[in-house]
Subunit: 209 residues, 2 copies
């Protein structure tokens, strides 16, 4: 059976990445597949594409920001997501915590790290561009904060995050969250149903070969 | 049984309104319901909200316009829509043909008019802000073009189009296509699955009462 590679291109700074992260386990269970989490730097993607965050592009527009909030509320309700709240320090500079994600993979603690940082950002509402706050949050999650922060400064870690971001751009990404099912790009939490259908389609196509 | 009112707020100038129009009959058949087509002036909504067309807001951004084209192609394929093509005169000023839609309802030829104008815009690629072109397109569709064009100039018709647009704004709309299921707003062709689910949900809630 041909199982497609499914990538979740994410930046912790995106609330929609957090919301997707909460729904991905259900899709994984239904599809019998694991998503490959790929840390990318949203600020880098914005620079490469000229795209802007919704906070910027929706500023001053009437009705549209309210509608986006409504759709977020619908998504939370539909998927019974508990504990989500806006981060009061938004936008948070995510360079440090994104490098930390790459470091955490090298240290073999990627899943714990991702859960801890998403929770710190979008459940606890912490200021996760402050080194002390990061340290406390990682420690509270049972992670070796000093080791991860040190590893985050490795040239290899920095280069890997940039390479991920460049590859995302080359695949057509312009924001977070983005998904790749094989080479098929999907943008936004609201495409998760399409992502799931595309996984199933590629699996069926693989079987037929 | 409590059947919700379902409104399709549309402007002929929006390709996504055309694509929605092609899919609505399937939803109507599955739900046993008719959508209420409400002509609104997209230019008016943009003025009221400060929103802009995708053509403007995506200009100069890399990857995002290409992604929108990809999602349009996916939508067309998914729903097996034949004959869609970009209008070479885009953006077309739709004031005249939107007033015509209101006039056509008063004349009892609304459905024929809507099909004829959507086809002229997004299948035939005609310059539908030119009075002669409009006249030819309506005549070719078996409509009384002179009568409709004259009726379009009625103060009542003009006022009705503005009132529709103002009501859409009051309901939270900021673009085309928008949908209202009862008071629940949905924006964009990609929300049609949610529109269908909301129709079913409100019907079930109505039964339970």
């Amino acid at each position: 059976m041909n199982i497609p590679r499914v990538q979740f291109l994410f930046d912790f700074g995106s609330p929609n990445a957090y919301l997707s992260h909460k729904v991905i386990p259900d899709i994984e269970a239904r599809c019998g597949i694991r998503f490959d989490y790929v840390p990318v730097l949203l600020g880098g993607l914005f620079k490469m594409t000229g795209n802007r965050s919704p906070a910027e592009s929706l500023a001053g527009i009437r009705n549209k920001p309210e509608y986006e909030l409504l759709e977020t509320a619908r998504f939370v309700r539909r998927h019974r997501i508990d504990g989500f709240r806006r981060n009061p320090y938004f936008p948070v500079n995510t360079l440090q915590i994104m490098r930390g994600a790459v470091a955490a993979r090298h240290e073999g603690v990627f899943d714990q790290y991702v859960n801890a940082v998403f929770s710190a950002m979008w459940e606890q509402g912490l200021k996760m561009d402050d080194a002390d706050v990061i340290r406390q949050a990682l420690t509270a999650a049972g992670l070796d904060a000093e080791r991860l922060l040190a590893r985050s400064q490795d040239a290899q870690v920095k280069a890997e995050l940039l390479a991920n971001t460049e590859a995302a751009f080359q695949h057509g990404a312009f924001g977070s969250p983005s998904f790749l099912v094989g080479d098929e790009l999907f943008f936004g939490k609201d495409r998760l149903r399409d992502v799931e259908e595309e996984i199933m389609r590629q699996r069926e196509a693989g079987k037929a070969q």
